[in-house]
Amino acid sequence: MTKTEHVYVMYIDSTPNRIFDAIVKPEFARQYWLHENHSDWRPGSSWEHRDRETGQAKIVGKVVESNPPHRLVFTWAAAAEAKDPNAYSRVTFDIEPLDGMVKLTVTHDELIPGSSMEKGITNGWPRVLSSLKSFLETGKPLPIWAKAAAR
């Protein structure tokens, strides 16, 4: 079956190190993503995307490549589908300085077209990236996320 992919680009007034940390460090991710990413971030290690309130793993996968602060690649599947090898898609973060800003490219590929995961991530990434930009540039995540954070 032909898999599909989506490519998201965001320009952020920050540094590659801060962006990389915002992805891999739970204390940052929880603020703008409402989730935390947990791993030792070594290639081959597993990682988990956990709900910051319940600690429950929502997304799981393996680290494919880690080259801080330029590139991070991991596989991605709903925790409930962790046993199904076909359920795994792949996420790549490319972080490159450009004209005084940093260009963050998120490539989410190996997705099953029309799957609920594809729908979920196309809804999710623009929101997460907007919130990340706001968090890094102003110190505040986006209002809708901040509201949830205050609960």
Binding site: V7, Y11, T122, P126, S130, L142
Partner: protein, 105 residues
């Protein structure tokens, strides 16, 4: 943000974004097959969309693949839509749906 509105202010460019929404990762050639425009026009429109960051591109071998990048549109939404009560937006959307009938769902 000026670039985003300028890029969206053209029906041909909006149609290109619709195509990329339906089929992510099309090449210039594939987009031209589906558009009633010269290759040069499609290419110029794509350059403008890319400049506005509404289209992201990836080189795969000798092929340049194009993707809809909705992130800047989400920023527009964050700035002017989300501020207003979500509740009332939802009520309006439901009213619109009811007035227009189920067949438009």
């Amino acid at each position: 943000m000026d670039a985003v509105f300028k890029a969206l202010a053209d029906p041909g460019r909006r149609k290109l974004l619709d195509r990329l929404f339906e089929s992510p990762g099309l090449t210039l050639g594939q987009l031209c097959e589906q558009m009633d425009m010269t290759r040069q026009a499609v290419s110029q429109h794509l350059a403008l969309l890319e400049q506005a960051n509404l289209v992201s591109t990836v080189w795969r071998g000798r092929e340049k693949l194009h993707f809809l990048n909705p992130v800047p549109i989400h920023e527009v939404y964050d700035r002017w839509v989300k501020k207003f009560e979500r509740q009332s937006m939802r009520a309006l959307a439901q009213l619109k749906k009811r007035l227009e009938g189920e067949r438009h769902d």
